[in-house]
Amino acid sequence: MTTETTALSDGDMSGKDWVAICQLSDIAKNTGVCADFNGEQVAIFHLFSKTLGEQSEVKAVGNYDPFGKANVLSRGLITEKEKNYHIASPLLKQEFCLATGQCLQDESVVIPTYNARVKDNMVELCAKTAATAVEV
């Protein structure tokens, strides 16, 4: 299983409960927002580029930065390295993989990831993906 979901496919998550968060247009391209997802803070990012075939993709990870100990990751900068997308914390710039939650600078740190998709122009979130279940 991977955590990857795109605008075109909701993969094998179709049987789960999806929660609508906001309109896709509420998230500027290649930036993030923070969602209140059943009391948890989730950072959702809207990826869009030529590399990605000019198709919108959404990715979701926990909003909490375990290094800075603050809820800030939605306000970070999206980076691309060899086609892997990371979110760089706005505090001390550690990068976390948007697909797996793995920290690039410290392999012992993994942040939670969430299933996210776009359906009818709405961004939706689904249950947290356990960090241990992540295929790296």
Partner: protein, 840 residues
């Protein structure tokens, strides 16, 4: 053990170098006393001409000497030595005992015995006092003549020209720089100098100086011709200043000069002589590098337990490279082909004004000497070939044909140098030392200069230094690739040009033009900064918002807990009571922590993302605007109160600071830029620690550039003096935009200036003389930025689309419940984790 007392007579460049070398390494063993005949401590005589451009030539300060425990007496001439008692006496009657005496009395200008030479507006050219005298005479003059077309004479001509006089050079020999150049090189130099408006008269023997008809004086020449002039400067050579040694019965040369041995010891074992006053092997060395070498030899002898192990002076290479009246000139080794059977090859490009001659051994295998006029980039390489007696790898004529010289050849040239090769002759730095410094981490020129001192004297070796550094880095496997990041194979300044020329306004377009992938934390903010520097569109516009770094991203400074601080602009630090009260009311309403910043404004901490727009609405309503404390852009212009209130102020510094701050507010640059304006020389605004510092003079403003506080403090360099308001602004405009265009990402002006090839002098050439012919364009660019300024917060408040991002949650109005404050000294503060646990 009591300290030995060393008395140093003469505080010129060499005397100072001796003191520096001695006190840096052996301060515990010696007590140093020095006497300066001049009214100030050592200064850079080599750069004397730049005194008129306002350069501070000082090599040291009274404070620096105090700190080292060096006792100094300025304006105090030493008149006698009592060698039996081991004391010296001064003009004012002081008597000081010495254990060892060092004579570094330098030289005196030679004035030929021409009748009429002793008159009011006839000068010599050696000291700052001489320059002041020349400048004083120039005020009431139109024409100036320099007698002597040697190296110093041409320097003096440059000084005369800078003072705005019609300038003539009169030379006895058939060519200029007769010692260093051959006839052809001299002729070319003459042509170039004539083009610059300096008239050259060769083969003129001045017979007498009499009263003139149209000018103050008339010089009559032996050939019956004459020249009228108001000012005359003699620069007909130097003579060793050996008077003191002469009256003390030390051995002298037949034609003067204090005789020394290989350890720089005179005929009295307790007295050393170094520099231009010393005569070694019947030769006087009138250049700075041999003087420094002698200083080192004397220190070595003084401090060595085993005198036989001390360094020795072995003569010096008299090769020189310099810029005379803007013309590059160099002479290496046997420039006149005096070696038996030497062969010469030359290359002349009269259109470009380039002359090169090489002198090679009869078998063509070794380079013996060279002359370069108009273009001297080969100097470093060739000097090494000569000094190290290296075999040429190709026929000598190839040296003259750079276009046939395929790339890599010059690299192998550097690699072929022996480890012992002296690269910097001013500070005696070898290739080995440089290689080691590079291996130890000095990966840019500024770092290499600061840890080895190489290149910090005359600067002539910097190109060679750069080549060695690059070659060493390549060997270490360190890439000298200056690509911005993995997404762009271009440096920042190259990208800047691409963006400018191709009018690129979005990151997607930039990637499509010259990059790959989707960008990263390096290139995105760099691109955002360049777009802003060129086009000045709102940083939160749809196409730009995803590129912004942490603070620009929400137009506020993020703090450790994810809250923000807010800094309204307070131009020049001037603020009305009403504005102060308004800021206080807002801080009170939103319970913000308030602190006065170092830049004379007020920082309000602890605002949550969602609170930023409401707080800014109130700020804008009372007429406050964004302070760009979050941007890599102009921060503040600090000022003192200036002449309006201060008893000492000579200009209205507060008004100037406000003018400057309002002009450059919001201008984004490679890194943050700080400025300050002081109303007098007391410098209360600390302008010399800023990127741009302005200090009032009674005639206008002095402009300083490249200062820095923070982690790596640097005093700013004086860029220009006594500027009027318009020129000051014009210079700042050009320097600022030139920095924006050419600096590396996140490079402050201090490091930028240090890495700029040619340094301050080059920057002055670019800005003041428009060397690159880009000033009009730079001024237009700055004008565009000034004209398109907007308060980013006011614009944001007017745009609902932009405001949408200013909520902690996209799907709720709640605030972040992880932001927890405690109260300390009556204000909020982020709670520690332990405090949080207690408070929640």
């Amino acid at each position: 053990m009591s300290k030995q007392r060393i008395v140093v007579v003469g505080n010129g460049m060499v005397g100072h170098h001796f003191i520096d070398q001695l006190t840096n390494n052996h301060s515990d063993q010696f007590q140093v006393v020095t006497f300066a005949e001049e009214k100030q401590l050592a200064y850079d005589r080599v750069m004397l001409t730049s005194y008129f451009s306002g350069n501070d030539l000082s090599l040291t300060t009274p404070e620096a000497y105090d700190e080292k425990g060096v006792e100094y007496h300025i304006n105090e001439k030493v008149t006698g030595i009592n060698r039996q008692e081991k004391t010296i006496v001064t003009e004012s009657g002081k008597e000081v005992a010495y254990d060892k005496l060092v004579l570094s009395t330098g030289s005196i200008p030679f004035v030929p015995p021409v009748p009429g030479k002793e008159q009011e507006d006839i000068h010599v050219y050696r000291t700052i006092d001489d320059l002041d005298d020349i400048a004083f005479s120039a005020k009431s003059s139109k024409v100036g003549v320099v007698i002597g077309g040697g190296l110093l004479g041409l320097e003096a001509a440059n000084a005369i020209k800078q003072l705005g006089l019609e300038t003539h050079v009169v030379e006895f020999a058939p060519r200029l720089m007769a010692v260093q150049l051959d006839q052809e090189g001299g002729d070319l130099l003459r042509n170039k100098i004539s083009e610059l408006g300096v008239t050259v008269h060769t083969e003129k023997n001045t017979q007498e100086i009499v009263q003139g008809e149209n000018c103050r004086y008339r010089m009559n020449f032996a050939d019956g011709t004459f020249l009228e002039t108001d000012v005359i400067v003699f620069s007909a050579g130097i003579r060793p200043q050996d008077h003191l040694a002469r009256v003390s019965d030390l051995s002298l040369g037949e034609r003067g000069g204090i005789a020394i041995d290989d350890h720089c010891v005179t005929s009295d074992p307790d007295i050393y002589a170094i520099g231009e006053c010393a005569l070694w092997d019947n030769k006087i060395f009138g250049l700075i590098a041999p003087g420094y070498a002698m200083a080192k030899v004397a220190v070595s002898h003084l401090t060595s337990q085993e005198k036989s192990e001390a360094k020795t002076f072995k003569g010096a290479d008299m090769s020189t490279k310099l810029k005379l009246l803007g013309v590059d000139v160099a002479s290496i080794g046997d420039a006149h082909a005096q070696t038996p059977d030497a062969q010469c090859f030359s290359f002349v490009d009269s259109a470009a004004g380039i002359y090169k001659k090489v002198v090679v051994s009869s078998d063509g295998k070794k380079l013996l000497g060279a002359v370069l006029v108009g273009e001297t980039s080969d100097y470093g390489q060739w000097l090494q070939l000569v000094v190290n007696d290296m075999a040429l790898t190709r026929p000598a004529e190839y040296l003259l044909l750079p276009e046939l010289d395929d790339e890599g050849a010059s690299e192998s040239g550097v690699d072929a140098l022996p480890c012992s090769a002296q690269i910097c002759s001013c500070y005696d730095v070898t290739k080995e030392t440089i290689s080691k410094a590079v291996a130890d981490g000095a990966h840019d020129i500024a770092a290499l200069k600061s840890c080895t001192q190489a290149g910090t004297g005359c600067g002539g070796c910097v190109p060679l230094l750069t080549q060695i550094q690059n070659s060493e880095l390549a060997k270490l496997g360190v890439s000298i690739d200056d690509s911005l990041c993995r997404h762009f194979a271009y440096s920042r300044s190259e990208l800047f040009d691409i963006i400018r020329v191709k009018n690129i306004r979005t990151f997607d377009a930039l990637i499509a033009e010259c990059g790959s992938g989707d960008g990263c934390e390096v290139c995105k903010p760099a691109a955002a900064s360049m777009f802003a520097s060129l086009w000045n569109e709102h940083v939160l516009d749809e196409e730009l918002v995803s590129l912004q770094d942490t603070n620009d991203n929400f137009l506020a400074n993020m703090q450790k807990d994810g809250t923000y601080s807010i800094v309204p602009r307070v131009p020049g630090g001037e603020i009305t009571p009403e504005q102060l009260i308004a800021i206080g009311e807002i801080a009170k309403e939103y319970k913000l922590y308030t602190k006065i910043t170092g830049g004379q404004r007020i920082d309000l901490f602890g605002a949550q993302l969602a609170q930023l727009p409401v707080i800014w609405k109130k700020m804008v309503d009372v007429g406050l605007e964004t302070g760009h404390a979050y941007g890599k852009s102009l921060r503040t212009v600090k000022s003192c109160v200036g002449s309006t209130w201060c008893r000492y102020g000579v200009q209205d510094s507060a008004a100037m600071a406000i003018l400057v701050e309002q002009r450059y507010r919001g201008v984004r640059s490679p890194h943050k830029v700080k400025m300050a304006v002081s109303g007098c020389a007391r410098e209360c605004a600390e302008a010399q620690s800023k990127d741009f510092g302005v200090i009032a003079t009674d005639k206008g403003w002095n402009l300083y550039v490249g200062g820095n506080g923070g982690m790596r403090p640097r005093h700013a360099d004086l860029f220009a003096s006594d500027l009027d308001d318009a020129t000051l602004i014009r210079y700042i405009d050009i320097i600022f935009m030139f920095y924006v265009r050419t600096a590396q990402r996140l490079q402050r002006t201090s490091v930028w200036l240090e890495n700029l090839e040619g340094g301050l002098a080059y920057l002055q050439d670019v800005v003041i003389n428009d060397k690159l012919s880009i000033n009009d364009e730079l001024l237009l660019q700055m004008e565009h930025l000034v004209d398109t300024y907007q308060c980013e917060w006011k614009a944001t408040l007017d745009d609902p689309q932009k405001l949408k991002r200013f909520n902690h949650f996209i799907n709720s109005d709640k605030l972040d419940d992880n932001v927890i404050f405690t109260t300390v000294r009556d204000q909020i503060q982020p709670a520690s984790k332990a405090e949080e646990a207690e408070l929640v």
